[in-house]
């Protein structure tokens, strides 16, 4: 009798449909969230990698400021000969070009390229012609501004070095030009065949030499780069498009990392849901199982057949989950519009799909194992006793529990393998969270148990929580822990959002002027339509602190700010708006007697050095040494966008120092362009920075990110709901029994309803309150310690979350209890009698 009995399996599947549905949904949810996250991550990654190739125009880049050495060239020639790579050399340098038949000159940023350039991306020309058909020997392609400044047109000639070359087209965009706002010189593309004729590469020239390589087999990328590395001279550098990744990519990988954590958490919740749904399902089978065991069924038979049932249900769930996840891929483009490059294809690879499926099955397997395993401990005598004896948990039980736990820890660590420390924090965090939730739950239940309550309904409801075999503590622990994380994410998101809004209020400065000279100030101010604040800026560096010289190497290794950089100082005699004094009492001391000058420092410098009032700092201000003593430490709200200076001196000390003036103001966007033109015309030395677009972009991006996070958090909320539903099912039998007894004792349906509702209400209230406490504490710690922004407890939203949770728990509980209420007690009692 160790085979699968088809009739038995089908019968198990067709009865207790609700429990089966919850089980299937939990499995589906786990897989949807896995597939969706993986697909999303994969798509973002693919887009970023392609972008990285374009930004480098190649797979491997060898670069040097000295001529590329012979061993490297030989090595590349060898690789090229065997067809492993294609290569193209570029030479980039500044030079002063002259109109061929005139005296006008202009500084140009020359880029001399071989035919293969660029391997990825495109150089876009004004004519729309392909780059390499235009850039033939003797011809050049230039920036539009060069034509304007030298009053030239296409077909005119330019004298560069010793060569005279003909301008054939205008470049609009090139793939690998770094965004360099301070770049000097206008772009000129030259064919490498003309390089020698220029006679500009000679001793004493400063040329940026590059060899771009395209590999023919993507898998050989790193080995090839490593091969080249072995022959490099010290001044040469080799990078692949993977190692030369940008800050944006780092940002995305952090973001995906955060989403992965949310994903793991969803998986954990879904797993708990799976387990409790299955437990509820099997509990209703206890009698059946006991009966078939009495009839001689072996444990093996029972386990095997129920495994078959679970496998079928799990299979349906997996199928649902995978198709749901695939469907979701189509939702992403809408969700992420404006966040990702426009041409990202959101698809998921077959390999990822299979990986998700395997991972999902492991989760289902590990969480179903316990309930199934416990079937073996069910004794045939169960049919004779109404109360089950508490199932004893043997060594195998704990071993399996350990297995599940280590599986999850392993998965977290694997997910975070690049950031092991964070992974360990995360695991410790989850364990800590569960420990806190457990402590709080038992504490609260202990208090509730001792409470003296007069109302009968309320008292009965409370007793209901401590019903034998009732999983109240387990439900509250999992539920409050899950809710705590969901609440916490929500609170964090609100606070980050708030901080963002506060940093960019509608009247935040959007226009910045730098390098205004002191003697221009009066005339410049007349140009501005509004009165505004201005800030003198004096450049300085620090040479020593308390007599100890600054060690450049040590300073530059610091993660945060470092003291080896240049600082912009200012002078004033009052605190700026929003600033507070943290130490020292006043900004400066009124009757200062010391030999040194006074300086006030910002508290964010404390990250670089543990400064204290009274410390001595040796400055070199505009090249002139100056000894200063710290007389105060200032602080400002972290999210403030007001100009902020690390060092503030008294006016009398710096007012004669060479300085430029910095101004920030807010203007309606439509007025900016006109003002910008006026300023450029009247004061060519003043730089104008218009941040309107940047701020708008930032706001859009922040909103999109919040949306993505909310979207993935939704999965954990759904998992939470499923846990509530399955836990109600798990206690269904006990409730039916209770309802029958209440009614037999003369209670009305109304009373029973009140008791059950109150019980659910209590459950929801306790879980939600505990969760809120933990979430508020967690969010507060993270805001203060990690994000360093002001914390707003969001009372309204918190109450709303509380209300919603209670409504949800009570609602789900009620829905599941309605059928119990409608049943007549006699039905239950008759069933009991007939069984005996």
């Amino acid at each position: 009798m160790t085979t699968i009995h088809r009739g038995f399996v089908i019968r198990q599947l067709t009865t207790s449909r609700k429990q089966s549905i919850v089980f299937v949904l939990c499995v589906a949810l786990a897989l949807i969230s896995l597939v969706a996250l993986r697909g999303f991550g994969e798509s973002v990654n693919r887009a970023l990698l392609r972008d990285a190739k374009t930004l480098n125009a190649a797979d491997i880049i060898v670069s040097s400021n000295f001529p590329v050495t012979q061993p490297v060239l030989t090595k590349i020639a060898q690789l090229q000969a065997v067809g492993a790579v294609a290569s193209a050399r570029t030479y980039q340098f500044l030079s002063v070009a002259r109109v061929a038949n005139g005296e006008d000159t202009e500084l140009c940023d020359l880029k001399v390229v071989d035919a293969g350039y660029p391997f990825y991306g495109q150089v876009t020309l004004a004519s729309g012609r392909p780059f390499h058909t235009v850039l033939t020997p003797g011809n050049i392609i230039v920036a539009q501004a060069l034509l304007e400044r030298l009053k030239l047109k296409l077909g005119d000639q330019l004298r560069i070095g010793e060569a005279t070359l003909t301008i054939r087209d205008v470049v609009l965009q090139e793939p690998d030009r770094p965004v360099n706002l301070f770049g000097f010189g206008l772009r000129v593309f030259i064919n490498s065949a003309d390089l020698d004729a220029l006679k500009l590469i000679k001793p004493g020239s400063r040329i940026s030499y590059r060899v771009l390589l395209k590999v023919n087999n993507e898998n050989k990328l790193n080995p090839l780069a490593a091969q080249i590395k072995t022959v490099l001279a010290p001044q040469e550098n080799v990078e692949t498009y993977l190692t030369a990744r940008s800050g944006v990519e780092r940002f995305f990988s952090n973001f995906l990392f955060f989403l992965n954590l949310v994903g793991i958490f969803t998986l954990l919740l879904a797993g708990i849901g799976i387990q409790s749904a299955l437990t509820a399902f099997l509990r209703e089978r206890n009698t059946t199982i006991a009966v078939i065991k009495t009839l001689g069924a072996k444990n093996k038979f029972v386990t095997l057949n129920f495994l078959a049932v679970v496998a079928i249900l799990g299979g349906i769930g997996a199928l649902l989950g995978i198709s749901g996840g695939l469907l979701l891929q189509n939702v992403f483009p809408v969700l992420l519009r404006g966040l990702l490059p426009p041409d990202v294809q959101l698809t998921i690879s077959g390999r990822s799909l299979i990986e998700s499926l395997l991972l999902g099955l492991v989760v289902v397997g590990s969480f179903t194992f316990l309930p199934i395993y416990q079937l073996e401990e069910l004794k045939p005598s169960f049919i004779f006793r109404k109360e089950t004896t508490r199932l004893r948990h043997g060594l195998p039980f704990y071993l399996i529990l350990l297995l599940i736990l280590s599986f999850f820890i392993g998965m977290v660590l694997w997910q975070l393998r690049d950031q092991l420390r964070i992974g360990i924090y995360f695991v410790l965090g989850v364990i800590g969270l569960l420990a806190v939730a457990t402590l709080l739950t038992y504490g609260t239940l202990f208090l509730l148990r001792r409470a003296r309550i007069r109302s009968l309904a309320l008292r009965q409801a409370l007793r209901g929580l401590f019903r034998p075999r009732n999983a109240t503590p387990a439900i509250i622990i999992t539920f409050s822990a899950a809710l705590a994380v969901i609440f916490c994410i929500y609170l964090l998101e609100r606070n980050l959002d708030q901080a963002f809004v506060e940093s960019y209020p509608p009247d935040a400065p959007n226009l910045f002027f730098i390098d205004i000279q002191a003697n221009q100030l009066a005339d410049f101010a007349k140009l501005l339509p509004v009165k505004t604040q201005y800030f003198p800026v004096v450049r300085a560096s620090i040479t020593a602190v308390n007599g100890a010289p600054i060690d450049r190497a040590v300073e530059e290794q610091r993660r945060g700010d470092n003291l080896a950089r240049q600082f912009n100082l200012t002078y004033r005699d009052q605190l700026a708006e929003g600033e507070v004094i943290k130490a020292g009492g006043t900004l400066f001391q009124a009757n200062w007697q010391g030999d040194n000058v006074q300086v006030s420092i910002a508290d964010d410098l404390l990250e670089a050095r543990n400064f204290q009032v009274g410390d001595q700092i040796s400055f070199r201000i505009e090249g002139v040494p100056m000894e200063a003593t710290i007389t105060s430490i200032r602080s400002r709200p972290k999210e403030s966008m007001q100009p902020f200076f690390q060092f503030v001196f008294p006016s009398e000390v710096l007012k004669d120092a060479p300085q430029s003036i910095f101004m920030a103001l807010h203007l309606p966007p439509e007025q900016i362009h006109a003002l910008q033109n006026k300023v450029v015309a009247a004061f060519p030395n003043i730089s104008v920075i218009d941040a309107t677009q940047a701020i708008a972009n930032l706001a859009t991006v922040a909103n999109r990110l919040a949306q993505v996070i909310r979207f993935f958090t939704l999965f954990s909320v759904l998992a939470g709901v499923l846990i509530v539903i399955s836990s109600v099912f798990a206690t269904r039998m006990a409730r039916i029994q209770e309802a029958a007894y209440y009614k037999v004792l003369g209670a009305t349906s109304r009373f029973v309803l009140t008791v059950f509702t109150t019980e659910n209400l209590l459950l929801g209230l306790v879980s939600a309150l505990l969760a809120l406490c933990m979430a508020q504490t967690g969010a507060w710690i993270l805001c203060q310690g990690f994000f360093k922004i002001a914390y707003h407890p969001a009372v309204g939203a918190s109450l709303l979350m509380l209300a919603l949770t209670i409504l949800l728990v009570t609602g789900v509980g009620m829905a599941a209890s309605l059928s119990i209420l409608r049943s007549k007690p006699i039905t239950y009692l008759r069933e009991q009698a007939s069984e005996e």
């Binding site: 002063v96 001793p203 620090i542 190497a553 920075i689 941040a691 940047a694």
Partner: protein, 226 residues
């Protein structure tokens, strides 16, 4: 993606201006330490750009510190104040000449103009600025040692010639001591230059000190009262 990058850079840039966080650049150079307590060291100011400030090397390896050690070792009680400022053009130097004069130098080693040439600034303008600088120091009886600079050869022969001619011309017209080429024997040697090929390594600065030392001694001899 491009738009993204640009907006990021702009935000970085404008927080840089607003929050006073410029790009990290340079290690500050040393201040003076007097050799003998009995006699107060006399002041030489090394004024210039990153070549003076010592971009990329430790503060005590830039040429002013090395020069001071050599002078002290040879019994000349002078302190050499590093008044170099990275990225500064001759126009910028002109703006802070009065501030530097507060240091009360007896000798100024003036090494500016390099950044002018890297920006392709008209050599005539650079020459005018350097002339004004020299005159401002001479007006306060400061002995000027003018450090001759050369531009990188890729700027084109025309430009390079015009630029290199500035220094001898100013030295002759204003009758000041001229170091023919500040980076003689350093600029074309990869071993002595940092990877950016603009700034010397500490060993490069040692050669710079060797190059300029005779001219500094000449300036000391020219001081009134010697």
């Amino acid at each position: 993606m491009r738009a993204w990058l640009i907006s990021f850079v702009i935000v970085l840039l404008f927080t840089a201006c607003g929050g006073a966080k410029p790009t990290p650049t340079v290690a500050p150079a040393p201040t003076s330490t007097a050799a003998t307590p009995s006699e107060k060291a006399r002041v030489i100011v090394a004024m210039g750009d990153s070549l003076t400030e010592g971009l990329g090397v430790d503060m005590d390896q830039a040429y002013p510190a090395q020069l001071e050690r050599k002078l002290q070792a040879d019994g000349h009680n002078f302190s050499v104040v590093n008044a170099g400022f990275s990225g500064e053009t001759s126009a910028g130097a002109l703006q802070r000449v009065n501030f530097v004069l507060k240091l009360k130098p007896e000798i100024v080693i003036l090494g500016t103009g390099g950044n002018d040439s890297l920006r392709g600034i008209d050599p005539a303008l650079t020459q005018k600025n350097i002339t004004k600088l020299v005159r401002a120091f001479k007006a306060k009886n400061v002995v000027v040692v003018l450090a001759g600079m050369q531009t990188v050869q890729n700027m084109g022969a025309d430009y390079a010639q015009k630029f290199q001619a500035i220094y001898p011309a100013v030295a002759k017209a204003e009758d000041v001591i001229l170091i023919p080429f500040f980076l003689e024997g350093v600029a074309d040697n990869p071993q002595l230059m940092q990877d950016d090929y603009i700034h010397p390594k500490p060993a490069g600065y040692a050669i710079v000190v060797k190059t300029i030392y005779p001219y500094v001694l000449q300036a000391i001899k020219a001081l009134p009262g010697r």
